[in-house]
């Protein structure tokens, strides 16, 4: 027979492992957001606060198609398409006028765009949250090791996240479009001298970023709910990610996302437990959860003190 104590620490280990997976799952979604954000900044020099709106648009597109067709897979496709279409339209109408403006104008215009898009979606869909159902195949749990079972759907999200990271890697290193994107990151004058239709390239890059955000929105929408403003908390986390990883670096976005995802998830759960060693239980819970919510910002501050341009950023 196992003693209660070892049983207890085994439970902690299982809990830890489960939370680690949750953190990675959260991190992969953050990656979908921050990859687009960092790509758009790297190529066009645009700081886009409205990136969270594409997350929301993706989720709403998915919810709409799911309601019409009852197919989760079509809904996922719809999230990609919906966000991409919105991205193209918004890029052509508004965003491309901002590339030559300074950061302040970009911040303000994209902030205004958030107000416009959030209220626009509220107008169309109403203020009540919508729900997106997980398909039966992905419902339930799957055993990973002896004692550990984990949600199929969350594993699916992790899988999709890494699949897309791989896809982006191939796109950027192996394709003609990727060469142009990299050229654009290094030298904006050169690329137009090469005869690349730069405004088309920009529209494509913006649409890729938007559709990745849209996909993330739909996948998270199925766990949480689909509602106006859902993109904003994750947008700001994505900013933290790219500050940590180094603005413009996709590798930095991947490392930063996982780091932030895991730190946030593990910190919120284990910090209160850790503090119980030092102080009484109820205090530990409230202090722990408050500090837990600030942990990633503390992480960001620490990294900035050591390396002001982020882990993979050019100084």
């Amino acid at each position: 027979m196992k003693s209660p104590k070892t049983n207890n620490s085994l439970m902690t280990l299982i809990l830890f492992f489960e939370q680690l997976l949750n953190g990675i799952q959260f991190g992969t979604m953050l990656f979908l957001m921050s990859a687009g954000l960092t790509l758009i900044f790297g190529v066009m020099g645009l700081i886009n606060l409205a990136h969270g709106s594409f997350y929301m648009i993706g989720a709403f597109s998915a919810a709409l198609i799911a309601a019409l067709t009852e197919s989760f897979w079509l809904a996922l496709l719809a999230s990609l398409a919906g966000a991409a279409i919105a991205g193209v339209l918004i890029e052509i109408i508004i965003i491309r006028r901002l590339y030559r403006r300074d950061h302040l104008d970009q911040v303000l215009a994209t902030f205004a765009l958030i107000l416009l898009l959030s209220e626009g979606v509220r107008w169309c869909f109403g203020a009540f949250p919508l729900y997106l159902n997980i398909p039966n195949v992905l419902n339930g749990t799957v055993p990973i090791f002896d004692n550990i079972i984990y949600s199929k759907y969350r594993l699916f999200i992790i899988f999709m996240g890494f699949l897309i990271a791989l896809g982006l890697y191939i796109l950027i290193t192996k394709t003609r479009l990727g060469i142009r994107i990299r050229a654009g990151q290094n030298d904006r004058q050169m690329i137009s001298a090469l005869g690349v239709d730069i405004s088309k390239l920009y529209t494509i890059v913006f649409a890729i970023g938007a559709s990745l955000a849209g996909l993330a929105g739909a996948m998270i929408g199925a766990i949480q709910s689909v509602e106006v403003g859902m993109g904003e908390p994750i947008l700001i986390l994505a900013f933290v990610v790219i500050v940590i990883g180094g603005i413009g670096s996709i590798k930095g976005a991947l490392v930063g996302s996982i780091l932030v995802g895991v730190t946030d998830t593990i910190g919120r759960i284990f910090l209160p437990e850790l503090l119980k060693v030092f102080m009484e239980s109820s205090n530990a819970t409230s202090v722990g959860s408050s500090i837990g919510s600030m942990l990633i910002y503390i992480l960001m501050a620490l990294i900035l003190i050591i390396k002001p341009s982020g882990l993979f950023g050019k100084s």
Binding site: F41, V107, L115, Y297, M300
Partner: protein, 327 residues
């Protein structure tokens, strides 16, 4: 500039006229709205020092607005419940005296702007924007998850804090108090921008490398501007809590940072009265559009985009140009 001065007189005139009308027609709501404009104007005047005059694009001024607000809320909450605020190293109790609350709110906001500035100013450009945003967001999440002061629901203080011999619950009296702080912060800004220090921070906005090369420690200058800027915004936060008799995490939300920035831009950057005009325009828009449609922010967003794309110099700038043409 002469034209701007002419407008400033009109602005002062309106600052007196609107509450007077409120009293004459017995519409206290008018006075309350005017007070809101004045307080938000102060917040914008604070940001304007960093943003408009020194070129520091802070997207985190909600942090200071919120800190001023929460310091006020917490002090008066403790006074109301007659609890000590903390017992170590000195037993400190809450207070509901504005004359005690203001200096504390000012000190705490200054302290926070110093710490946040010290870390953020190590970076520049987009990094600076995102880091100021992130620090404000950190405080926002802290305020939500810290249960002692209402967490997500916020903190009510029931009675406005008191000021010797003044009934602060009377809208006009509280308006006057806010107006005093507005004039004070305009006065401070005016003195600052015409001082040697002001010359340094305005030069930094235009060409930081040159300013360094003449031996001026630009980091220190920027940090001090940031602290003064955050402190003025913090003071506005304190008044805002008293105006609403309520403070909640909303004041720390990044939308608040965005809105304070919008006041500065709508009015016209680096203009002394710009943020006040911007705040007035914003509130007027909220009131008029808001009475027609629930989705007034949609139209606000649209107007903002148009202003940024086509009327970059703000409202005061528009008048400036128009009058110049007529001459």
């Amino acid at each position: 500039m002469i034209i701007e001065k002419f407008f400033n007189k009109w602005i002062m005139f309106f600052l007196i006229l609107i509450p007077t009308c409120g009293v004459i027609f017995d519409e206290p709501y008018f006075i309350t709205l005017a007070t809101k404009v004045v307080i938000l104007g102060i917040a914008g005047i604070g940001l304007n020092l960093a943003l408009g005059y020194c070129g520091l694009i802070s997207l985190g001024h909600a942090a200071f607005f919120g800190i001023g607000g929460y310091v006020t809320g917490i002090l008066s909450f403790h006074a109301l419940n007659d609890e000590v605020l903390f017992s170590w190293p000195l037993a400190v109790s809450g207070s509901s005296e504005m004359l005690i609350i203001w200096p504390i709110a000012i000190l705490v906001s200054a302290l926070f702007s110093f710490i946040i500035g010290l870390l953020s100013l190590r970076t520049s450009g987009v990094y600076f924007i995102m880091i100021t945003l992130a620090f404000a967001q950190m405080l926002y999440f802290f305020s939500i998850s810290w249960p002692n002061y209402g967490g997500e629901d916020g903190l009510s203080i029931y009675m406005r804090n008191s000021f010797p011999m003044v009934n602060t619950m009377d809208p006009l009296s509280f308006y006057m108090i806010s107006l005093f702080w507005l004039l004070f912060s305009i006065f401070i800004s005016l003195r600052l921008i015409n001082s040697p220090f002001g010359m340094s921070f305005q030069a930094i906005k235009q060409n930081e490398e040159r300013v360094k090369s003449v031996g001026i420690e630009t980091f220190k200058v920027k940090l001090l501007v940031f602290v003064i800027s955050g402190t003025i915004t913090g003071l506005a936060g304190s008044l805002y809590t008293d105006l609403n008799r309520f403070v909640s995490p909303t004041v720390l939300d990044w939308h608040t940072s965005g809105e304070i920035m919008v006041f500065v831009i709508l009015g016209g950057m680096a203009r002394l009265y710009g943020p006040l005009v911007g705040a007035a325009f914003f509130i007027a828009l909220e009131q008029t559009l808001g009475s027609y449609t629930e989705n007034w922010q949609f139209w606000l967003g649209l107007i903002l985009i148009l202003v940024i794309l086509y009327a970059r110099s703000g409202i005061l700038g528009l008048f400036d140009k128009k009058l110049k043409h007529e001459k």
